[in-house]
């Protein structure tokens, strides 16, 4: 909606002083937050930031390149398992393991991107969904990956133990700073990649892949690249997720997780990095905090317990998070197909052009 007058204006990171100011305020607030956060909330923030990384990466694939992906929990699992196994089995330092794991995930993304070249629409949706489930089943059946018992993450040592540089992070707040810095880096990378040749190629493919091919974009390279970049993000996030959770098994990476990731991007608004971040924050908060403890909300909680006792079952009430997520998904497509970002654009337009 804002008019761009030249190329340099388009590639600017902060298009106005206001945005720069608020970004700095947000960053300062995020870095100061652990001073007042409880341990549980630090954990919740860590989870949110991990999901932000996945959502930002998935947005490159779904929002910018227009490919449907229902299997990101698979890449997420690859990142988590690869990071932990590289650290425990081969005793590789944390950062190296994280990067290698992310590249392994990116390689799998490239592999999945190959059939995706020929598929579109519902066929692509089902192929990616099948990929995610297949990864979950394979992990569950191989002894090295801990089978169904799952894996325990080792101590989070971000130094290089081989050189005698030990720097172990034990507390939730220590993890918070580590994950926050990586999240900021990854977000910055995502914002910038959309302003490069590759990013413009992605957007061209989304708008019409045939037209993109006609103007000389190599579909094979850029579609697989989009899958690989997006899987890279999921891999990094998975590696961090392993340490946020501390313990995980194949069912952690169930189909529902892929769906949650996709919903984050759709709710936030397709194609916008800021939208994906807000979507990830909102959905993670709803799914892992608010809906999970729905019986603790003042009035609604009591009402729901009463309803459960009268007509339904109280033990099944945990499943309210599924119902809530389903309603959010349906509601967002019916009432605001462009997501939170679309709503924000509308408000902004109304504000700027008032009283017209």
């Amino acid at each position: 909606m804002d008019m761009k007058r030249d190329y340099y204006e388009d590639i600017e990171l902060f298009s106005s002083g206001t945005i720069l100011f608020w970004t700095v305020v947000l960053l300062v607030a995020l870095f100061a937050a652990p001073l007042i956060l409880s341990n549980y909330h630090a954990y919740l923030f860590n989870l949110i930031m991990v999901h932000v990384i996945v959502a930002v990466g998935l947005n490159i694939l779904v929002g910018s390149t227009g490919q449907i992906a229902l299997g990101h929990a698979g890449f997420f699992a690859i990142g988590a398992y690869a990071t932990v196994l590289l650290m425990t089995e081969l005793s590789i330092p944390f950062f190296a393991a994280l990067i290698i794991a992310a590249f392994i995930a990116a390689f799998f993304g490239f592999i999945l991107g190959l059939p995706a070249l020929r598929l579109e629409g519902p066929y692509l949706a089902i192929a990616t969904l099948a990929f995610g489930l297949a990864i979950m089943h394979i992990i569950g059946h191989v002894e090295l990956f801990g089978g169904r018992q799952g894996l325990m993450a080792p101590a989070l040592n971000i130094g290089i133990p081989q050189l005698g540089l030990d720097w172990e992070i034990c507390s939730e707040k220590g993890k918070y700073y580590l994950i926050l810095s990586i999240t900021i880096l990854m977000t910055l990378f995502a914002v910038n990649i959309l302003k490069t040749k590759a990013g413009r190629a992605f957007v061209a493919i989304r708008d019409s892949d045939i037209a993109a091919e006609v103007i000389g974009i190599n579909l094979t390279i850029y579609k697989t690249l989009a899958f690989a970049v997006s899987a890279f993000y999921a891999g990094v996030a998975g590696g961090l997720f392993a340490f946020v959770l501390g313990f995980f098994d194949p069912f952690t990476f169930h189909l529902i997780l892929s769906i949650i990731f996709l919903v984050m991007v759709v709710v936030g608004g397709l194609g916008s990095v800021m939208g994906s971040i807000t979507g990830a924050v909102l959905i993670t908060y709803l799914m892992y905090d608010l809906f999970k403890n729905v019986d603790e909300i003042p009035v609604v909680g009591d009402l729901m317990v009463a309803v459960s006792e009268q007509w339904l079952t109280v033990t099944g009430m945990d499943n309210f998070s599924m119902i809530g997520l389903g309603l959010v998904m349906i509601g967002i497509i019916i009432f605001e197909p462009l997501g939170i970002f679309g709503a924000w654009i509308r408000v902004k337009k109304y504000w700027k052009t008032w009283p017209f």
């Binding site: 519902p122 089902i126 089943h137 059946h141 309210f320 019916i334």
Partner: protein, 291 residues
């Protein structure tokens, strides 16, 4: 297990997948929506029958009839309240809506009947075994599956070929706008196709759950296999999806017999391999997309 029994059990399971694939195909043909909620909607209706039998003590056939009616209403409900209000949704939007419906009903079922496993019995047991030819064993359940599948497919054939509603459905499938011009209420056709799909889905789900178990997630894998069957058949053709279902059932049964641990992922391997070779299914007529 003898070869003959594996073959017949595989074909019977395949017929269930084929029927369920039909439920997916009927909706896709008329409205180009992939119904990811098909499995959960069928589970919901199956639980209604289960509830009537177990808690109210009604006879099976009454519960069955009631579940069919409930399924038809449920299908129309979903179409009317969740899909119709969406204005010009994209493909991704439609997928998100149907997955949302899946989560919604899945959550409701878990809330009402908890995630415990139950036994759902129909009058056709898989433990009663006939031997029509020496060496060939058929369970009562398999016979019932073949008969029910044959009846449904025949009814559908005559329905699409000779009735007014069936012709209108085919017209809507071929060209929505032209159908509207000749006076067909396409919205109503969509609602009917959701109802039909839901009814066929619950029939198949009851057959499957009587062979396996009844829990809120029992249709997850059959749904994916049925979907694989539909993809094999090209998502458009009724004979294609039945053939695809048969192939899926056989592959799964023989492969599962050889390597039980990897049985769940056969469906996905088949989907991905088929899609790599023929991106729009084995039996689909390739159409040229307008740019």
């Amino acid at each position: 297990m003898p070869f003959g029994q594996l073959l017949i059990e595989g074909l019977a399971m395949g017929a269930c997948y084929g029927l369920f694939g039909l439920a997916v195909v009927i909706i896709y043909r008329t409205s180009e929506v992939i119904n990811f909620a098909a499995g959960t909607m069928a589970v919901f209706s199956t639980y209604i029958a289960f509830h009537m039998i177990t808690f109210y003590g009604h006879p099976f056939w009454l519960a069955f009839l009631f579940a069919l009616i409930f399924a038809a209403l449920l299908g129309m409900f979903v179409e009317f309240f969740f899909l119709r209000p969406a204005k010009n949704p994209t493909l991704l939007g439609l997928i998100v809506i149907t997955i949302g419906v899946q989560l919604l009903f899945g959550g409701l079922v878990c809330w009402k009947w908890t995630a415990d496993q139950q036994a759902f019995t129909i009058p056709f047991s898989y433990q009663v075994i006939y031997e029509p030819l020496p060496g060939v064993f058929m369970s009562q359940w398999a016979v019932a599956v073949f008969v029910i599948a044959a009846v449904i497919v025949t009814l559908l054939f005559f329905f699409f070929k000779y009735t007014k509603l069936g012709t209108a459905m085919r017209a809507t499938q071929q060209n929505k706008h032209a159908a509207k011009i000749v006076g067909i209420k396409t919205d109503r056709i969509f609602a009917f196709s959701w109802a039909f799909s839901s009814v066929i889905g619950v029939t198949s789900a009851m057959l499957i759950s009587s062979r396996t178990i009844l829990d809120p997630e029992f249709m997850m894998e059959p749904f994916l296999r049925a979907f694989a069957a539909a993809v094999l058949g090209g998502l458009m053709s009724v004979p294609g999806v039945l053939l695809g279902g048969g192939i899926m059932g056989l592959i799964e049964n023989f492969f599962g017999y050889a390597m039980p641990a990897w049985k769940p992922i056969t469906a996905f391997v088949v989907i991905v391999l088929v899609l790599c070779v023929r991106p729009s299914g084995l039996f689909a007529k390739h159409y040229v997309k307008k740019v």
